[in-house]
C-alpha cells in the first residue's frame, strides 16, 4: 500500500512533467512583458497569432516592476515586446537605451501626439484620469475643481487612490512635470494625511460604489468596464472629468516598444504594427477594455467621452520621470 502510494506519486509526477513541462517552456514565437490589462493583451495576441501564425507568450505584471526588471535584465532580457499602461515605464526603458527604434510604418499609424519624438516606442492606447464619486454622497457642486484641491484639509478621509499602482504614479509624474517637485512633494504629503489607500483601481471604485469612501482618483475605463458587465461595482458611481488642463485631467499614453535585445525583432515589430494598426485598434473600440484608441482614424468606444473633449493638459510623455516619482512617494510615506 505504502509503496503503491509512492509509486503512484512518482508516476503522476512523471506524467505531469511530460504534459505540462513543454507548455511552460516558450522558445518559439515572441515574449511580451505585458503590463496592460490581461484581457486586452490576450485579445491582441490572439488576433495577431490568428493573422500571422506567430505565437505570443505573455508574462503579466505591472508597468514599474517590468520596466525596472528590463533594466536589470539588460541585454539579456528574454522579452521581445514591452506593453505598458502608462508612459513613465517606457521612458525608463528608453533612457536605459534598451529599445530598438520602432518601424516607421508603425509610427506612421499613430499621431505624433501619441508617440515620443525619439521614435523608440509608440502609443498603443490612452486613458484619462477621472474622479470617480459616489452619487448618493456627493453632488456636482461639492466636487473638487482641481485634483490639487484634494490636498485641502476639508477632503481629509474622503477620497481614495491606489498609490502602489503605476496608474496613479503616472498621474503623479504628470503633476511633477506640470507643477514641479516642491508642489508635488507638498501635495503628496497632504495626500498622505487625507487619502485612504486601496490596492488597485477596481478596488477603489468598488469602495466608492459601496459608499465606504466618497470618491477616488482612478482612470476612466474601470467604470465603463463594470457598467458593461453587471454594474454591481459602479451603480452608485459617476465620473467627474477635471478638464481645464488640470493635472487631474491628464491623459496617459499606454506604450509599446520592441527590445533592442529581442531575438525575434521582425516578429516583435510586426506585433507592434498590428496592435497600432486597424486590427489592434478595433479591439479597443469593440472589446471590453474601454481604453481610448490612438491609431490614426481609429474610433474609440462610442460610450466614452471623446478624447478631444477632455481638455487634457499638454504633457510631454518623454519627460515623465518614474524614478523621481517613486522617490517622492517613498519620501512621503506612500510606498
Amino acid at each position: 500500500m505504502k509503496y503503491a502510494l509512492s509509486t503512484l506519486v512518482g508516476a503522476t509526477a512523471l506524467a505531469i512533467s511530460l504534459i505540462a513541462g513543454p507548455a511552460m517552456a516558450a522558445d518559439d514565437g515572441i515574449i511580451v512583458y505585458n503590463a496592460q490589462h490581461e484581457n486586452l493583451t490576450k485579445a491582441w495576441a490572439e488576433g495577431f497569432t490568428k493573422e500571422t501564425g506567430i505565437k505570443v507568450t505573455v508574462r503579466n505584471g505591472g508597468d514599474s516592476d517590468f520596466s525596472n526588471q528590463i533594466v536589470a535584465e539588460g541585454a539579456a532580457s528574454p522579452a521581445d515586446v514591452f506593453l505598458t499602461e502608462n508612459s513613465p515605464a517606457m521612458v525608463l526603458v528608453e533612457s536605459a537605451g534598451l529599445f530598438a527604434p520602432v518601424d516607421a510604418d508603425t509610427l506612421a499609424q499613430v499621431p505624433n501626439d501619441y508617440q515620443p519624438a525619439s521614435g523608440k516606442w509608440v502609443g498603443v492606447a490612452a486613458r484619462s484620469t477621472v474622479f470617480a464619486y459616489n452619487k448618493t454622497k456627493l453632488t456636482a457642486d461639492q466636487l473638487p475643481k482641481s485634483m490639487l484641491d484634494l490636498a485641502d484639509p476639508s477632503w481629509k478621509g474622503r477620497w481614495a487612490a491606489s498609490p502602489s499602482g503605476a496608474d496613479f504614479q503616472a498621474i503623479v509624474s504628470a503633476l511633477l512635470q506640470l507643477r514641479g517637485e516642491a508642489a508635488t512633494a507638498d501635495w503628496l504629503k497632504a495626500m498622505k494625511t487625507n487619502f485612504t489607500a486601496y490596492k488597485g483601481n477596481s478596488t477603489v471604485m468598488k469602495a466608492v460604489n459601496a459608499g465606504e469612501i466618497e470618491g477616488g482618483v482612478i482612470y476612466h475605463y474601470y467604470y465603463f468596464g463594470d457598467q458593461a458587465k453587471t454594474g454591481e461595482n459602479s451603480k452608485n458611481v459617476d465620473l467627474y472629468y477635471f478638464k481645464n488642463q488640470d493635472p487631474g485631467a491628464f491623459v496617459s499614453i499606454s506604450g509599446g516598444g520592441v527590445l533592442a535585445s529581442s531575438k525575434h525583432p521582425k516578429e516583435a515589430q510586426a506585433f507592434l504594427k498590428w496592435v497600432t494598426g486597424k486590427g489592434g485598434q478595433e479591439i479597443l473600440k469593440t472589446g471590453d477594455s474601454f481604453e481610448y484608441a490612438v491609431g490614426k482614424g481609429a474610433q474609440s468606444n462610442p460610450k466614452l467621452v471623446p478624447l478631444a473633449d477632455l481638455q487634457a493638459p499638454k504633457v510631454d510623455a518623454t519627460t515623465l520621470n518614474s524614478k523621481k516619482v517613486t522617490d517622492l512617494m517613498t519620501a512621503a510615506g506612500l510606498l
Binding site: 506519486v9 525596472n68 471604485m205
Partner: protein
C-alpha cells in the same frame, strides 16, 4: 503566500521512544537543540563524505538569500540604508506588523487551547469530527479566506480585520500541536495535582498549561512567521505590513534598494520572533518522567457547558470553513458555466501540479543528505547546517524570491526566470517540511538494515537505496505532499520568479480577484481548496497517529 515556513507536520510529535524529534518543536528549536533524535541508542557513525558535501552544499544554497540581503546592504552604503530604514513609513509598517502579531497570536492561543482541550479532553459530542474540522481551514489559502471575508463584509479593513482573518486562517497551526500535546499529557499529573488540593481550574493553570508551553511556543512561532510573510490576505483587507510594502516597492521599482532594505527589516522581525520563542520556551522539559504507559485519559464531563462548547466549535467552523465555502459557492453560482474556462483552468491546473510535484521532489532530494546525517551521524556540524536550513525556511517567500531574482539577474543570468530557479526557491522555502518528515521516517529505518545490506556486498549508495530510502518512502511521500501543498498555494515568489508563460492556480486567482472579477476567481479558489483538503486530512491522521504512539 508564505512558505508555510516550517511545516505543520513539524508540529506533531514524531515519536516517543527517543528516535525522533518532537514535532512540537519549532524550527529553531530543532536546530538549536540539535535534536535528541535517536542518537542515544545508536552508535554514532561517520557520515559518508559525499553526503556531508551534499548537505553542506544545500545549506550554503539555503544561506544565499540571507547573504544576499547583507551584501545589498553593504553595497547600498550606510547612509542610504539608514535613510531607507529609519523613516516614518517603516515605523508605520513596524507598528502595524507588531500590533498584528501581538493581537493575533494571543487570541489564536486562547482559541486553540480551548478548542483543543474541548476536543481532546472533554466528552464533547462528535469530538473527532470537530477535531478534523479544526484542521481543515489549513486547506484554504490565507488569501482565499480574505477573499471570502471581503465578499461577505466589503467594508472589512484595517488592523482588526487583519486580526480576525489571521486568527481564522492560522489558528490550526496552534490547534494541531496543542491538541497533540494534550493527547500526550500524562493524566497522572493532573490526578496528582487534584490530590494535592487543586481544583480543576487551578490544575489547568498550574499543571496542564505549563506543559503545553512548548506546543504553544512552537505554534505561536509558526503563526507569527506567517503573519510576517503573508501578502494576499492583507491586500484584500487593506492592511499594510512589511510584506505588502515590499511587494509594493517591488512593483514600483523592481529590486530597488528600498525593497531590499524593507526585506532586511522583515528578516530582523523574523529573527526577533525566533529569538523570543527560544527565550519564552526556556529549557523546559515536558516529556513524561518515569516509565510505564500513560493511562487512558478520562474525558471531563461538560454537563451544562456542552451547549456553549458546541457553540464555540460551530461558530469557529462557520467562520473558518462556512464563510469561504459559502462565498466560493455563491460566486460559482453567480458566475455559472461561464467562469469555467476549462482550457485556461486546465492549463493552470497542469502547471500548478507540475510545479508542486517537481518542487516537492527537489525539496525531498535536497533534504535527503541532511536528514540522513542528522539521524545517523549527528554532531555539531550537522546542527549548524540544519540550523541554516530552518532559518531560511522561516523567511518570507518574498524575501527569498527577491534575493533569487537579483542574484540570477546579476550573476547567473542563464538561470534567470527558469524553471530551475523557481524550483530552487520552492525547495529553499519548503525544505524544513521535507526535512522533518524525512528525518522522522529515516529514524524508523534501523541502521542495522543498512549495515546488513553493506555486509551483503552492496556498495554504500546502493545499500542506502535498498534499505533506508525504501523504508522511509512513506514518510518522504508525506513530506512531499506537504511541500506540494505549500507550493500549490504559493503566490508571491511564484509571481516574481516563474518562467514566462506560467500561470498557476494562485496566480490566476490573484489576477482575477485583483480586477474584482470575483466570480472568475472562484473556480480557482475552489480547485485549490479541493486539492488541499485531502492533504490536510493526511496531516490530521498523521498527527493522531504520532501522538498516539
Amino acid at each position: 503566500m508564505f512558505p508555510t515556513a516550517i511545516a505543520v507536520l513539524q508540529l506533531l510529535p514524531l515519536d516517543g521512544t527517543g528516535t525522533a524529534s518532537d514535532l512540537m518543536q519549532s524550527a529553531v528549536d530543532l536546530a538549536r537543540s540539535g535534536l535528541p533524535v535517536g542518537t542515544g541508542r545508536r552508535a554514532r557513525r561517520r557520515a559518508a563524505p559525499w553526503l556531508v558535501i551534499a548537505a553542506i552544499f544545500v545549506s550554503l544554497l539555503a544561506l544565499l538569500p540571507l547573504a544576499f540581503i547583507i551584501w545589498v546592504a553593504v553595497q547600498t552604503g550606510w547612509e542610504t540604508v539608514s535613510a531607507l530604514v529609519f523613516r516614518p513609513r517603516v515605523g508605520e509598517l513596524l507598528v502595524n506588523t507588531v500590533l498584528l502579531v501581538l493581537l493575533t497570536v494571543p487570541i489564536a492561543i486562547v482559541l486553540s487551547v480551548a478548542l483543543a482541550w474541548l476536543s481532546e479532553r472533554s466528552d464533547l459530542p462528535g469530538a473527532r469530527l470537530w477535531a478534523w474540522l479544526c484542521v481543515a481551514p489549513l486547506a484554504i489559502p490565507a488569501f482565499v479566506h480574505s477573499y471570502a471575508w471581503i465578499t461577505m463584509v466589503p467594508r472589512l479593513h484595517g488592523l482588526w480585520a487583519g486580526v480576525l482573518v489571521s486568527v481564522i486562517a492560522y489558528f490550526p497551526f496552534l490547534y494541531l500541536p496543542v491538541s497533540a500535546a494534550l493527547r500526550r499529557l500524562d493524566p497522572a499529573l493532573e490526578d496528582a495535582a487534584a490530590a494535592l488540593g487543586l481544583g480543576p481550574w487551578r490544575v489547568f493553570w498550574r499543571v496542564v498549561l505549563p506543559q503545553l508551553r512548548l506546543a504553544i511556543c512552537g505554534g505561536s512561532l509558526l503563526v507569527g512567521l506567517h503573519l510576517l510573510a503573508e501578502y494576499g490576505l492583507y491586500v484584500f483587507i487593506r492592511f499594510d505590513t512589511f510584506t505588502t510594502a515590499i511587494v509594493d516597492q517591488f512593483q514600483s521599482t523592481f529590486n530597488g534598494p528600498a525593497a531590499n532594505m524593507l526585506a532586511g527589516v522583515l528578516v530582523s522581525c523574523c529573527f526577533v520572533l525566533l529569538g523570543l520563542e527560544v527565550l519564552v520556551r526556556g529549557e523546559e522539559r515536558y516529556a513524561r518522567v518515569g516509565s510505564g504507559a500513560a493511562r487512558y485519559q478520562q474525558r471531563t464531563r461538560l454537563g451544562r457547558a456542552t451547549i456553549p462548547s458546541l457553540a464555540l466549535f460551530v461558530v469557529t467552523t462557520l467562520l473558518a470553513l462556512g464563510v469561504p465555502f459559502v462565498t466560493i459557492g455563491g460566486w460559482l453560482a453567480a458566475g455559472g458555466a461561464a467562469v469555467w474556462r476549462f482550457d485556461e483552468i486546465g492549463l493552470a491546473l497542469g502547471q500548478t501540479l507540475f510545479l508542486a510535484i517537481a518542487g516537492a521532489l527537489l525539496a525531498t532530494v535536497a533534504a535527503m543528505p541532511m536528514a540522513w546525517i542528522s539521524i545517523r551521524a549527528p554532531g555539531p556540524l550537522q546542527r549548524l547546517l540544519e540550523g541554516c536550513n530552518y532559518i531560511v525556511g522561516s523567511l518570507p517567500g518574498v524575501v527569498i524570491a527577491l534575493a533569487l531574482v537579483t542574484i540570477t539577474v546579476r550573476i547567473a543570468l542563464p538561470l534567470y526566470q527558469t524553471l530551475f530557479t523557481i524550483l530552487v526557491a520552492y525547495a529553499l522555502m519548503f525544505l524544513p517540511r521535507a526535512l522533518v518528515s524525512l528525518r522522522a521516517s529515516i529514524a524508523q529505518a534501523p541502521v542495522e538494515l543498512e549495515r546488513a545490506a553493506s555486509s551483503l556486498g552492496r556498495p554504500p549508495l546502493q545499500a542506502l537505496w535498498s534499505t533506508t530510502i525504501r523504508l522511509s518512502a512513506p514518510g518522504a511521500a508525506a513530506g512531499m505532499a506537504l511541500v506540494a501543498l505549500g507550493i500549490m498555494n504559493e503566490l508571491t515568489a511564484t509571481q516574481m520568479l516563474a518562467p514566462n508563460g506560467t500561470r498557476t492556480l494562485a496566480m490566476a486567482f490573484w489576477s482575477y480577484s485583483g480586477e474584482i472579477d470575483y466570480a472568475s476567481a472562484a473556480p480557482y479558489a475552489f480547485i485549490m481548496v479541493a486539492m488541499s483538503l485531502p492533504l490536510t486530512w493526511l496531516l490530521y491522521v498523521q498527527s493522531k497517529r504520532m501522538a498516539g504512539r
